[in-house]
């Protein structure tokens, strides 16, 4: 778009855009902006049931943060969250990319079937997916346990969540299962968009398949991977509902991730100030990890018009 074809706004140049964004901005500021500000102030306060009633908070400076950083449980939860996030992101990206590349080499019927299955899974509401997995791994009538037994192992009835490793594997399984369709379909779409002429030209110029991958395909795919990995980190880091519902709304402390920990401190123990401090630390870790992505997206949005 050249600047000559751009719409000119005339003398009222500066009023229009602000009128257009004000209503949306107002709602966002009230429901998202103010809570962010409140989250920050809350983290410097002692705020419990008494403070909700009286409406007068007690300022405690950095006490909440100090207490947290001294609490060994905080570090265990933080480490657990990072490991769990990394495992889920890695699994969903690797499996997703692997399937996308396989789709290029499948026969037409299988590819169509896989694509349809992926879209179906993608469309399943998170809570429905959780219910299904809960059913598949249920204590008494689990299809998974009985299948394993039929293969010759003897598990009898088994509560998969007494062991945190198998418990987290199932929680991660729900998340990854739900995330794969979006990742596979995005990468597959990108792969099919690699122009044939480019590949042919590279081949004619004598490039071998590794060189073609490195200098033709990879540059096209790289931005997609950056977006998919960033989005996966953002989504997986804050996984809440899967843990909460799979563990019947009362997860044991071995299942605390940052999201659950902040929630329990606030709504379980009514220590809203402490919960806010955890939540704030969680946001900072997340922003740090995804900084690159935000910068790129802002550039894209700004470049238009």
């Amino acid at each position: 778009m050249s600047s000559a074809t751009k719409l000119r706004l005339g003398p009222k140049k500066n009023v229009w855009p602000y009128l257009l964004i004000t209503p949306a901005l107002a709602v966002i500021l009230l429901i998202l902006g103010f809570p962010v500000f409140r989250l920050i102030t809350l983290s410097f306060q002692q705020f419990g049931l008494a403070e909700i009633v009286s409406g007068i908070p007690t300022w405690v400076g950095f006490d909440n943060f100090q207490a947290l950083l001294k609490d060994p449980e905080f570090w265990i939860v933080l480490r657990r969250t990072f490991i769990f996030t990394f495992a889920m992101v890695a699994a969903s990206i690797v499996i997703g990319a692997w399937l996308a590349h396989l789709m290029l080499r499948m026969n037409t019927i299988l590819r169509w079937l896989l694509n349809t299955t992926l879209i179906l899974v993608w469309a399943i509401p998170a809570l429905v997916g959780i219910s299904i997995w809960k059913w598949m791994f249920s204590f008494e009538f689990s299809i998974i346990t009985s299948t394993i037994n039929r293969l010759g192992f003897d598990f009898a009835q088994r509560n998969w969540f007494t062991n945190t490793f198998s418990g987290f594997s199932i929680i991660g399984g729900v998340v990854v299962w739900g995330a794969i369709p979006f990742i596979t379909i995005s990468i597959y779409a990108a792969l099919t968009q690699v122009p044939k002429e480019l590949l042919e030209a590279a081949a004619i110029d004598g490039a071998n398949s590794r060189q073609i991958f490195r200098s033709v395909i990879l540059p096209i795919l790289l931005p997609i991977y950056v977006i998919l990995i960033s989005l996966s980190i953002i989504w997986d880091f804050q996984v809440f509902t899967q843990i909460w519902v799979l563990l019947d709304n009362r997860p044991a402390s071995e299942y605390y991730t940052m999201a659950i920990y902040a929630f329990e401190k606030s709504f379980g123990l009514s220590e809203y100030g402490m919960g806010a401090a955890i939540a704030l630390l969680m946001i900072f870790s997340l922003l740090g990890v995804t900084w690159f992505y935000i910068k790129k997206m802002v550039r894209i949005g700004d470049g238009n018009a």
Binding site: P35, L102, L104, M106, L118, V121, P125, L127, F141, F237
Partner: protein, 274 residues
Amino acid sequence: MHRKSSVYANISGFFAIIFMGFPVYWMVTTSFKNRQDVLSTEPTILPRSFTIENYQNAFSREGFYTSLRNSLIVVLITVAISLFLATFASVAIARTKFTGKRSFISALLIVQMLPLSALIIPLFLLLTRLQLTNTIGGLALTYVAFILPFTIWTLRGFLANIPTDIEEAALVDGCTRVQAYRHVLLPLMAPGLVATAIFAFIQAWNEFLLAYIIMQSQENLTLPVWLASFTTRTGTDWGPLMAASTVTAIPVVIFFSLIQKRIATGVTAGAVKG
């Protein structure tokens, strides 16, 4: 990019279909099994019975119709308001230049990254103060705010692909700016608006955590929260739960299949073009 099909790819693909599709298959078949089959300790992959009693059971269960109604009302209000507001805001971003635009865009993106489980703490306190907890209006207002950034961003993407020449021609022909937007740009945006509306619908329909915290009383539940309430201390009614899950999923599956292509390209389009 398609190459000749390989045996390895076909076999892997076959197993991928089985593994990915099985949970959905298991939900649907369980929902049509009779009680004895559902509660069998030796479940079989192929169903041995067919009944719709799980569906009757789920529909007659306390709270189904109220939560269905609540879900529909909240979702429709959310979609209408967020689309209305997002249309204006997206035109501003895609068609005009203004001071603070970059900050506005950054805010939209950063806001989408804020973990819901973090924001819910001050949000709950705010809504309590405004006496909006346990009200349809309070939940809808919250949904609008959470969905707006994405809808604005998506509509911006659609607008970026509509050439400005057409509006310009209208301006040259003597249209005012408002007329040009309303009669020229808006019809061109229609497909994008439909896709975005469906996406907003799905988001609001599926949302659990906010509804769980904001709507506490039994007559105010939405469908996902009602679904989560199937498990009580005495156990879970698996048959009816799978029937209810199937019913909850159906509208989303239908809507989703309509817009799937747009969403897939929409999310990553910026990366290739930008």
